[in-house]
Amino acid sequence: MSMPLASTVPAAPYIDWAGLSPLLALLGGAIIVLIVGLAGPRGIRTKLVPLLSLATFGVALGCVIALWGQNLVLIEDALQLDPLTLILMLVICGGGVVAVLLAWRDQAAEEIAHGEFFALMLLASAGMFVLVSSRDIVMTFVGLELLSLPLYILCASRVREERSLESGLKYLIIGSVGSATVLYGFALLYGATGQTGYSDIASAISSNGLATDPLFLTAVAMCTVGFAFKASLAPFHQWTPDVYEGAPTPVTAFMSVATKAAAFGVIIRLFDVALRPAIEAWRPIWIAIALITMVVGNVGALRQPSMKRMLAYSSVAQAGYVLVGFVLVTDLGVQAICSYLILYSFGNLAAFAVVIARERETGEGDNISALRGLGTSRPALAIAMTISMLSLAGIPATAGFMGKLRLVEAAAAGDYAWLVAVLVVLSVISLAYYLPVVATMWRGETQPGTDAASGVPVLAGGAPEADATGARAGWELTAVAVLLAAAVIVFGIIPQPVFNLVASAARGLGLS
């Protein structure tokens, strides 16, 4: 941070362009997609644009894989390309690939034009890269905004749909409050420590004995609250169900995997690196947030007729589980978080794929009644949904179980077995909302609406073109759902590859 004042021409910062390649790929892809989206022929817009977006995510993934195992500092001290960044980018770009496939024939892309829709998705991913790799509070804020602004628009991209607009507006307002809180927290943090770099902040805290300083503690509190908003942790989660429900479902799916991974990336880096000397100040608060989040998420998901609301609350609960890995502040804890985020995303995305398929096939939107009798009418989708629900519930032989197993192991090793015991007891509540979904599909009632006893009101809504019931949604949805469900089972039985992948996750953090 110190510049030699004597020199008149400050030396340009060294930039490791190779290390930045995932970011450059995403930004470049966004621009190309935006331009191609202006093309006249409809075929180009509806086919080439998603294809280019897929290719962009593919190239970014390729860059991530090419850089695998590196631990570099990019652009002076602003960004850090370490295993954590790479692992989270794998989740984010993987989520992006799936989200593009899910959004391919979606009404939302039709309504705000394909180029814009997919370019925004790529821009948000670029923001996520900046966020998870930043090691400087200014860069963190830039990343946060670069991630958030495209998502606000994407949420509102069903411009003819009131719920979608409401979702976007709500997300904009709440998100801005969150950003403002984070920014204020950062300002105070700079005021207290006089530094913007994460490692400089850490050394300033320990050398100046700031851990009990009121200004510093206020800054920590503001950062905690702000990121809790962003990561939809209770009690700052209230926006999540509404935004998830109103947003176009592919966007919801993308947010539930990629945004979450990015948010946890920055939380890990900020607290485990920059604020680690003050761990005694923030750990109890985060434990409380974890507990509240698990309770609120699991209880809120009960008896939700809307699948997207249910999955929103479920994602809140899952975020609570991940926090258990975070409060440990150990190497194993970070590994467990990364395993969990990877393993959880398969089942979660498979569930969204099935929900989208049923949204397009029936006129019932994302209501659970759209799944009735699916076991007989669409066994492939039903099996995928069943596996994904079992995985989210953490039943053995699924990826979700292995994610939980890793969390339990990390917590036991970190002397927080009691916290993970609370986790599993609360996760039993989750059976009460995951399993009825399974039962609805397999109970043997085929005709929608024949089950008068259930009393679930059939909601109006869904896309106008979906009113022609009986039509099959695109093959890509079934393929995505089935492949992801297969991955759930494969990694539920052979989880070692994932564990190998995340083995070095905490290498750049300097944890014990």
């Binding site: 036991a412 989880p495 564990f499 083995a503």
Partner: protein, 504 residues
Amino acid sequence: MTIHLSIILWLPAAAGLLALLLPSRFARWISLLGALLVLAYAITLLVDYDRAAGGMQYVTDITWIRSIGIHYALAVSGLNLVLLATTAVIFTASALWTLIDEPDSGKPGIYALLMGLAQTAVMGAFMAQDLALFVVFFDLMLVPFYFLIVIWGGPDRTRAVLKLFMYTLVGSLLMLVGAITTGVMAANGGEPNFLLSELAKTPLGSTAQGWIFLAFALAFLIKMPSFPFHGWMPDGYSNMPIGVLAVFTAILSKVAAYGFLQIALPLFPDAAVRYQELIMIVAVASILYGSAMAFTVDSARLVLGYSSIAQLGFIVLGIFAFNGRGADGAVLQATNHAIVAGALIFVVAMLSRRAGGSEKLSDMGGIAKGAPAFAAVFVVFSFALLAMPGTANFVGEFMILLGTFTSRMTFAFIAAIGVALAAFYSLRFYISAMHHRVGEKVNSFEMTLREALVVVPLMLVVIALALYPQFALRPAQDGTRVALSATEQAQSSAATASTTGNGR
């Protein structure tokens, strides 16, 4: 390192998968064929087991999840061999039953697959020699039953199955946390290793043992079920299809009992000794409560459900007597109860076919009139259930009470009341179904050939065990010695500690 145990383990699931893939008219036959093959394999293992050498045999050990140190480790010992054979018998009977009473909704392939998976999971839990693997199979066991109940269950199935799942998973997930903590703590900062043989070498500290033991005990007591953790049982039993219920009541409860002997006592001996009386109180309460309820309920299924609570109470009591007689009796009784309770579930279905589809005792009566041979078979099972002298159940209960008497006399006295109560409910069940005034809806007919095919072999097993209970007792003895050695040590060290404490 042999592959035999992996073959027997995955055979049922493979047969189920085959049944799903081939045309559905073969499904039930393939399922039966798979079950018979497993039975043959299990009997071969039982015969081939080298009693003189003892210990774990046919050991299979492959590292499964390297990062966490979880092994795919299987073995058979005296303790689980008989239970494996019993499992194979009951699953075969259940597969035979589907030939009579085809599960409706026309998906025999899925039914066969789920039953195959269930059998694989149960046998996995019996054979697992790795703590985490045991927990995985123990939890996995439940999943096929969810679908079996949701698709083929009774009218209130959705609620019943949710209750069943939530109850049992509270226990088994806490058990998971306990198991992982055990491995991590035993490793003491190094690489964890979940092999039971390794874990038994490094017992945990007293505090950790305490809560981990309680987590395991809770999981097992819920699964059995024991009073007061039986809340899922009435709904669950009422809504399971017959073939599924037979397996559930006969086998799944035994996995829990086996878990005490195989896992809880060897790994957490100090805690087991400390909480001995607590568990014994639960066992005795189960005996009294189960017997009393079995004596009062009207549903024939629930008579059996509550009687299972009482019988499992006896088994737990025998295990926690911490001596050879009690534990041997418990293993014998686990075998006996599995066969008898499984058979009686089929009897309930046969009664209901003759009582106009009702399973209420008040709708039955006088069925013996048109079905003397059926009555004869039924009376054998009834006598076995009440532990009539001459049956193996008598031997089992006697050994349990004897063992309890030597270690905790008071509990033995109270438990003995349960023996008398068993006669009450068992005979009430038989008499009110078969004798008394002929019920209004009753249309009695003799046991059909297919029904006989299911229950007569089971009756023969009951008689064979009555004539030669050593068949189950002998192998069990080697196993229980190993299981009890740790607690005996803990008991004696606790005794020394208390005498030195008093002397000070």
